[in-house]
């Protein structure tokens, strides 16, 4: 059971919260009335413990999620989505402890696929990763506030990121479901169209890919692969997973040529690679680690052996999102000491699956 904090005035409470419990931006004070209204958005017991948030190791209840969701400006109907995302973050394979304390700029990318996300006010249209997307911003922000307030990931103390990234404040998108090019991610993950999935990935800063000219998937995806190969990302030497947030216009280029999501994943797996000589020239070749990675994809002694930037086609998390006004997609490389995981949420915001069955293979 969490504590109540008492202040001589609302102004004093506000000042202290912005100073001590915020991400640097103004917050909404979690009064008992607001927290009660937020909890009405969940069917779960407010005292249900989701797990312990590292590095502080503090217990996280549904009520704690609601408190931080209030502070982030989220709505009660978004509480089940925030809760599911946090449950995925607490999966041991995700390695939240490492992501919270890394010197890298890594942060969770949160992707929702399915009808509940859009109904709950998340967006998948114009400027999906930017300003003006209240649902996406406040859901992502609630997750970050839990990471700092409950998890103790405090910049300069336990969060040792050298520069961070704006995505650390909020990094949350929903998938476009009205394009009709491929089955939505939730179905490709084994869920039903009525369910909604949340996928969390330890993410590097996003890389934008502008391409308005390519009329074939091969040419378009070679350009995407070029962005993925960027040697500054840790994915270049440690292939795990990667996300591609594909613009509707780009998705149609592939779909119009008869390509399915799996074809896009396969093409990029084959083309988003760096030969060993390139890694060596850039000083990215670690004699203690790189040969073992390279051996999975070719002869580690051959300088022309090409190392992919994600470990298998299935580990490219592919979603269509964004507006219809141009050919701009986003590559999100991985923070590679984490495994992306996902959870399913029922359409009414509850879980019909027992917790153990919500354990899924890595995304």
């Amino acid at each position: 059971m969490n504590q109540m904090l008492e202040f001589p005035s609302e102004d004093r409470a506000y000042e202290e919260f912005v100073e001590r419990y915020s991400d640097g931006l103004p917050i909404v004070l979690p009064t008992p009335e607001r927290v009660a209204r937020m909890l009405a958005g969940s069917r779960e017991d407010p005292d249900d413990v989701l797990g312990h948030v590292m590095p502080a190791g503090s217990a996280l209840t549904i009520r704690d999620v609601a408190i931080n969701a209030v502070m982030a400006g989220a709505e009660p109907r978004q509480l089940p989505l925030i809760t599911a995302a946090l449950e995925a973050l607490l999966d041991e394979r995700f390695n939240l402890n490492g992501l919270q304390s890394t010197t890298h700029c890594g942060t969770p990318l949160v992707i929702f696929s399915g009808p509940l996300a859009l109904e709950a006010g998340l967006s998948a249209g114009n400027n999906v990763l930017g300003n003006g997307q209240r649902g996406n911003l406040s859901v992502g922000r609630a997750i970050r506030l839990v990471m700092t307030n409950v998890g103790g990931g405090v910049p300069g103390k336990t969060d040792m990121s050298v520069q961070g990234t704006p995505a650390k404040i909020s990094f949350c998108v929903a998938e476009r479901v009205d394009i009709g090019v491929w089955a939505p991610l939730v179905v490709r993950q084994g869920g039903t169209p009525a369910e909604t999935s949340v996928t969390v990935m330890g993410a590097d800063a996003p890389i934008h890919v502008a391409d308005h000219r390519s009329a074939t998937p091969q040419r378009l995806l070679r350009n995407v692969a070029d962005a993925m190969r960027h040697l500054g990302t840790m994915s270049a030497t440690r292939p795990t997973q990667m996300a591609l947030l594909l613009a509707p216009q780009h998705a149609r280029v592939a779909a119009n040529a008869g390509w399915h999501a799996a074809d896009v994943q396969q093409f990029l797996f084959e083309h988003a690679r760096n030969p060993l000589w390139r890694l060596r020239d850039a000083g990215e070749y670690d004699p203690a680690k790189t040969p073992a990675v390279a051996a999975e994809f070719g002869d580690p002694e051959d300088p022309d052996t090409r190392v992919p930037v994600f470990a298998s086609p299935e580990r490219l998390i592919l979603v269509v999102t964004g507006g219809d006004s141009g050919g701009f997609s986003t590559v999100v490389p991985a923070w590679p000491a984490s495994v992306a995981v996902h959870r399913f949420i029922d359409h009414d915001g509850s879980y019909s699956r027992p917790r153990s069955q919500r354990e899924e293979v890595p995304a």
């Binding site: 904090l5 927290v35 209840t61 009520r63 408190i67 000491a337």
Partner: protein
Amino acid sequence: MSFVVHDPRGGRIATAPSLAARPKALAGLKLGVLDNTKEQADILLGRAAHLLAQDGAKPTFAQKPSFSRVAPPEVIEQLAMCDIVITGLGG
């Protein structure tokens, strides 16, 4: 008139871990050196262990398989046998 809000910090662990007592001398003490395998960590820690050994500490070295993950139980057990442990961040 007071203003009451919820504490956003969750179920905090009651007692923060405290630091072990500092040894007054190193002679004969078993020194654990944990290398997180980040670049140059082995150089930095090797030098530190060399200097501490001159004061009588007896170094034993351990490595984490990944600098981004917590040390596995067998490494923790190895270090638990030591009187003092040092570690540090490479990079």
